[in-house]
């Protein structure tokens, strides 16, 4: 990294409104290259808002603060410009698009919109147990919860971004596939490499924490009411949440 560590993502003092309502408040978050962070928190605390703000969706209005990605201030960049800089996302509830197939989406993610579904796409899909018949279906139309997740991960494999955000990658996924998804997420995030060789970074949002059995994170955060309330070692935080719940976990955090 040119001899110095550069932050992958650097969020400072971020306050965000959605439809006139403040959802995120004075939020700070730093993710270095090669790191994977996990973000816990109860429903409605603002996890998805944070993710979609980082991605630059227009409904998420930044009232103050800044977001830097690979040293570039992206606070006011449109989504596709941010994506071009090397960010990708696995959505929790992606929309259906009639007439646009999953195969088309894979090609778009690879930067070749006009291409046909070829051997490369088919091989990539096979790694996720996605058959050809599934690639020619309209994206997300009638997909089960687990199929949505695999479809999202497949698109990320095609895109191969340096920084990946996963929004609830484990919800609705059956036991058989969660290990598979966890394995591919680990690979996408350089988890199979020696720590010094890791470049790619990630932010995983999980409500249940289930996926963390299959992917190792470097740092965990708990979000409450739009701010990061405590941060620490993933194992420790997970254990606390499981034992005492989100609020108490944060209290324990503060005592320390």
């Amino acid at each position: 990294m040119n001899g110095k560590i550069i932050n992958m993502l650097e969020i400072e003092n971020l306050t965000v409104e959605v439809a006139g309502k403040e959802i995120l408040r004075d939020l700070y978050l730093n993710i270095e290259r090669g790191e994977v962070h996990v973000l816990f928190g109860p429903n409605g605390c603002g996890k998805t808002t944070l993710l979609l703000t980082i991605l630059g969706f227009p409904a998420y209005k930044v009232k103050s603060g800044s977001i830097k990605f690979k040293g570039v201030d992206i606070t006011n960049l449109p989504t596709n410009e941010r994506v071009k800089l090397g960010m990708g996302v696995s959505f929790q509830h992606p929309p259906q698009i009639r007439g646009v197939t999953l195969g088309d989406m894979v090609n778009i993610a690879q930067g070749r919109s006009e291409a046909a579904i070829d051997e490369g796409v088919i091989e990539l899909a096979a790694r996720l147990n996605i058959p050809y018949e599934f690639l020619v279906r309209d994206v997300n139309l009638g997909f089960s919860g687990g199929e949505v997740k695999r479809s999202e991960i497949l698109q990320l494999m095609a895109q191969s971004p340096e920084f990946i955000m996963f929004d609830e990658p484990d919800s609705g996924v059956d036991v058989e596939n969660i290990e598979l998804i966890g394995g591919i997420m680990s690979e996408l995030l350089d988890r199979n490499k020696l720590p010094s060789k890791r470049v790619r970074a990630g932010l995983i949002i999980t409500h249940s924490g289930f996926i963390m059995r299959y992917i190792k994170a470097d740092r965990a955060h708990v979000m409450l009411e739009g701010s990061i309330a405590c941060s620490g070692m993933p194992d420790e935080i997970t254990k606390n949440i499981m034992e005492v719940g989100f609020e108490k976990c944060v209290e324990k955090c503060k005592v320390k």
Partner: protein, 411 residues
């Protein structure tokens, strides 16, 4: 047909001369020329002047005639070219065919559509300017498509055609009809009567591309009669603006297992006023129909998208799917699907939806790296992407390319 029958047809046409159509804006037919603009015959389509070739290509017509089993070109009111390459096929002007086959007038002429349906059908009879006759002989499977082009090159032309298409028993016939207009034409009228006869076990696919311009008024009148185990598949593509269009092709599934499919893809732009539907009358036992339309309305275009299935035969089934996409606050889409059932063992259904481009779909595509414009284009293409079934592979690919080409032009 004896003289008395012929006189009867003419009398009925005369009586219907002022009969307004039940749908669509009324057209003053006197605004259009019924004489002049005659053109000399061509020895091959390659002789079509360069300035016109592009207009033909845009309507799916291949000037080289390659990959076609026959070609027909009507320029304004003259048949300038007609050649058939396949032995199982007959192709000529309707006027010529009526001279050659006595049975044509007796058994087919105005049998699917009443001559006095409205002033337009009447006018086609009284002031006919040819049209094409296509016949696939019994048991001939002509998998290479026939192309027919109805081309207007002279301003103020009233082009009035009567087409008769017959697929005899167990034959197969694929037709590409391109309707096009030269740049110089400011205003024109196209009246087209098309009578299709699909005999027992036969199949016709009919791919029609309309490549009109802002000043053209269009009133096609189409009916299809389908016998036992016969199949009729229509693919209609309209991508260019026009002044007005009203049409309601009707398939009569008379025979057992008779099947009709209509797929219409309409990109309505400019000030176009379009009233367009497809109807299937399911009379035969287990006959079935599927009517699919995709309508995209932009600028000031107004579209009425109709669909009707009438179930009369035992165990008949039909489905209508109308989808509309609005791209402008000054445009309008009215979607009118209708089902009529007259017995209890039928299965008829419809779904209709009109909406805008979902912002979340645009953002999803942007999150995969596309710009807003690219994302919109992908969504529109997807919306118009109807699975065209029943065509031979080469023709299916070609139709897809024609659609892409038309889209390139408008987007």
């Amino acid at each position: 047909m004896n003289k008395r029958d012929m006189r009867d047809i003419i009398e009925r046409a005369k009586r219907a001369r002022e009969k307004k159509a039940s749908l669509g804006d009324d057209i003053n037919l006197e605004r259009y020329n019924t004489a002049g603009s005659e053109h000399d015959a061509l020895k091959s389509l390659a002789e079509v002047p360069q300035e016109h070739k592009q207009s033909l290509l845009r309507a799916g017509i291949e000037p080289s005639e390659s990959g076609r089993s026959g070609s027909f070109l009507l320029q304004d009111r003259s048949v300038v070219f007609s050649r058939v390459k396949s032995p199982g096929l007959e192709l000529m002007s309707t006027t010529e065919a009526l001279k050659r086959h006595e049975w044509l007038a007796t058994d087919y002429l105005w049998k699917a559509i009443p001559v006095d349906m409205d002033k337009y059908t009447a006018d086609v009879e009284l002031d006919q300017t040819n049209g094409y006759f296509i016949r696939a002989k019994a048991n001939s499977k002509v998998t290479i498509p026939v192309q027919a082009c109805l081309f207007i090159t002279t301003d103020k032309t009233g082009q009035k055609v009567h087409n008769i298409i017959i697929a005899e028993e167990n034959s197969e016939l694929h037709i590409i009809t391109g309707c096009s207009v030269a740049h110089a034409v400011q205003s024109a009228l196209h009246l087209g009567v098309s009578e299709f006869y699909v005999k027992r076990g036969a199949k016709i696919t009919f791919t029609m591309i309309h490549n009109w311009s802002e000043g053209v008024e269009v009133r096609p009148r189409t009916a299809v009669v389908i016998e036992d185990d016969g199949t009729f598949i229509s693919n209609y593509i309209l991508m260019t603006p026009l002044k007005s269009l009203q049409t309601y092709p009707t398939a009569y599934c008379e025979g057992k297992n008779a099947r009709a499919n209509f797929q219409s893809i309409i990109y309505a732009s400019g000030n176009a006023r379009i009233d367009m539907g497809s109807r299937a009358v399911l009379k035969g036992e287990r006959s079935r129909a599927e009517i699919i339309s995709r309508v995209l309305a932009t600028d000031n275009a107004e579209v009425i998208a109709r669909g009707e299935v009438i179930g009369e035969g035992a165990n008949a089934s039909g489905h209508i799917e109308c989808r509309g996409l609005m791209l402008s606050d000054n445009a309008a889409i009215t979607s009118i699907p209708e089902l009529k059932a007259v017995r209890k063992d039928l299965d008829l259904s419809h779904e209709a939806a009109v909406g805008k481009i979902a912002e979340e779909a645009i953002l999803y595509l942007m999150a995969r790296g596309l710009s807003e414009e690219e994302a919109t284009s992908v969504i529109i293409r997807g919306f118009l992407n109807v699975d065209i079934t029943g065509l031979p592979d080469a023709l299916a690919r070609e139709t897809k390319q024609m659609l892409d080409m038309s889209l390139e032009k408008v987007m």
